[in-house]
């Protein structure tokens, strides 16, 4: 079933919308959740919460790219779930690995915890990503948005792991420089 039809089912408040969503995107969302949580049980729970969130948000939303919309919900729910669990109990996951990599975008040794306008930060990162070649942008988002492993992210972009690693490093450095230039206190 096409996305537009599934979205229509949501709008008509038909529960088959959930079945169709699960059939088409269940494994896809499970992978995203697992990249973050590294626990199959927690991931299934996060995906179930995603269906509920989709049911509660469509309508009023009418996503044009349903898979991206659902991915966004799953990512948000899974990260929340991870943060609510004790940090000591966190299993190593692509999310936790990505945190250490993204630390490179921040000033070394700076422990400033000033409030940051996340929306402004998101706007700046969005502009920076649009200025990148598509290959770099895709790789960055595969690794840090979808939390794909380095191996999977490289494969999605048709490049070797070594090249992906180099490209990600340059992109992180570029992002740090860009954010500094834009006045963010890193």
């Amino acid at each position: 079933m096409e996305d537009a039809q599934i979205v229509s089912l949501y709008w008509e408040r038909q529960e088959s919308a959930l079945e169709e969503t699960q059939r088409k995107y269940g494994s896809y969302l499970l992978k995203i959740a697992y990249n973050i949580l590294s626990s199959r049980e927690d991931s299934r729970e996060a995906v179930n919460d995603t269906y509920l969130a989709a049911w509660n948000s469509i309508p009023p939303h009418r996503p044009q790219a349903l898979s991206a919309y659902l991915a966004k919900l799953t990512r948000h729910i899974a990260i929340d779930c991870l943060r609510y669990s004790s940090r000591d109990r966190r299993a190593p996951s692509q999310y936790t690995l990505s945190l250490s990599e993204l630390e490179e975008c921040l000033s070394a040794g700076d422990t400033t915890q000033e409030a940051v306008n996340v929306k402004l930060l998101a706007d700046a990162i969005g502009i920076y990503l649009r200025l990148l070649p598509r290959e770099s942008r895709t790789l960055f988002l595969c690794r840090y948005y979808f939390l794909d492993s380095l191996n999977d992210a490289a494969a999605h972009c048709g490049m070797s792991q070594a090249r992906a690693k180099t490209l990600l490093y340059r992109t992180r450095q570029g992002l740090r420089d860009y954010l500094v230039k834009e006045g963010f206190d890193l």
Partner: protein, 283 residues
């Protein structure tokens, strides 16, 4: 700020950025002609110049007949299920395995346009669709040695018309790469009598109108598209109004779009942001 703040910000990225990556991640299989296309240079090799060029070191790789150009459009990413046109070439090819003649200055290649579109309102008046997006993959064919490029274009934003965002469309353009063996079939081998059959089979050269840049995977455009049905080997593809006249190319270093400034064809415009371009569209 810490790394988790960056993750929070990533959660707020615009949907079109996520959809673009999402579509690539969900592509059912890698496209074998994705990478070679990126090797294509941007400046145009002009026909007369090409004929005078010596061949570089010969390539022993065979010509790719019946390449898989029809595979990608027929199997669109699930995130972009609305692919409504397909291309089925008999002799599509990519640059993989070919020797590409280096681009050098030569005499000109030109065309007489039936209409010159001076500005955005003129283009918009005839456009059935105006879309923003990114070239995903491409391949080439030729009709009587006239090069054609067909690309898969991911629409990320629709400014006019009924092509929904996150749709993959097939885009047909004049210009591209001509296989030497095809050229010789049409025009004879006067200029290539010293070449081996293997060299002829494995060589291509580039040709584009007015030296316009070649389309490459990853390019981002705003396109003014016609709904007139294409014919010949590009049947089923969307065409750009006025050739490259209806194609605004993003310069990633500036974030601004501009048309190829063909000599004297139309008044050169200042590069503009997407918002500035949108502002020039008729209400």
């Amino acid at each position: 700020m810490n790394a988790e703040t960056i993750h929070d910000a990533l959660s707020l990225l615009p949907s079109d950025l996520i959809a673009e990556t999402d579509a690539i991640r969900r592509h059912p299989r890698p496209i074998p002609w994705h990478r070679p296309a990126a090797a294509a240079a941007c400046a145009a090799l002009l026909l007369a110049g090409a004929l005078m060029l010596p061949l570089p070191e010969k390539s022993a790789k065979p010509i790719l007949e019946h390449a898989a150009c029809d595979a990608a459009p027929a199997e669109a990413p699930m995130a972009a299920p609305l692919l409504d046109r397909t291309v089925d070439f008999e002799t599509a090819f990519t640059l993989e395995g070919f020797t590409v003649l280096p681009r050098e200055a030569g005499t000109g290649s030109s065309a007489c346009f039936s209409k010159v579109y001076e500005d955005i309102p003129a283009l918009a008046a005839e456009a059935a669709h105006i879309v923003v997006g990114t070239v995903q993959d491409l391949c080439y064919t030729d009709e009587d040695a006239a090069p054609r490029t067909v690309s898969t274009f991911l629409v990320t934003e629709s400014l006019a018309g009924d092509i929904a965002p996150n749709t993959l469309i097939s885009l047909g353009e004049s210009g591209g790469y001509v296989r030497l063996n095809t050229f010789i079939q049409v025009y004879g081998d006067d200029h290539f009598s010293g070449l081996t059959q293997e060299e002829i089979q494995s060589t291509v050269f580039a040709l584009s109108l007015f030296g316009a840049p070649m389309t490459e995977a990853g390019d981002q455009y705003v396109l003014f598209l016609t709904d007139k049905k294409a014919e010949g080997r590009m049947a089923g593809t969307y065409g750009i109004i006025g050739g490259f006249q209806g194609k605004f190319i993003l310069d990633p270093s500036t974030g601004r779009y501009a048309r190829w400034p063909a000599d004297d064809l139309f008044q050169e415009e200042e590069p503009m942001t997407l918002e500035e371009l949108k502002a020039r569209l008729p209400a």
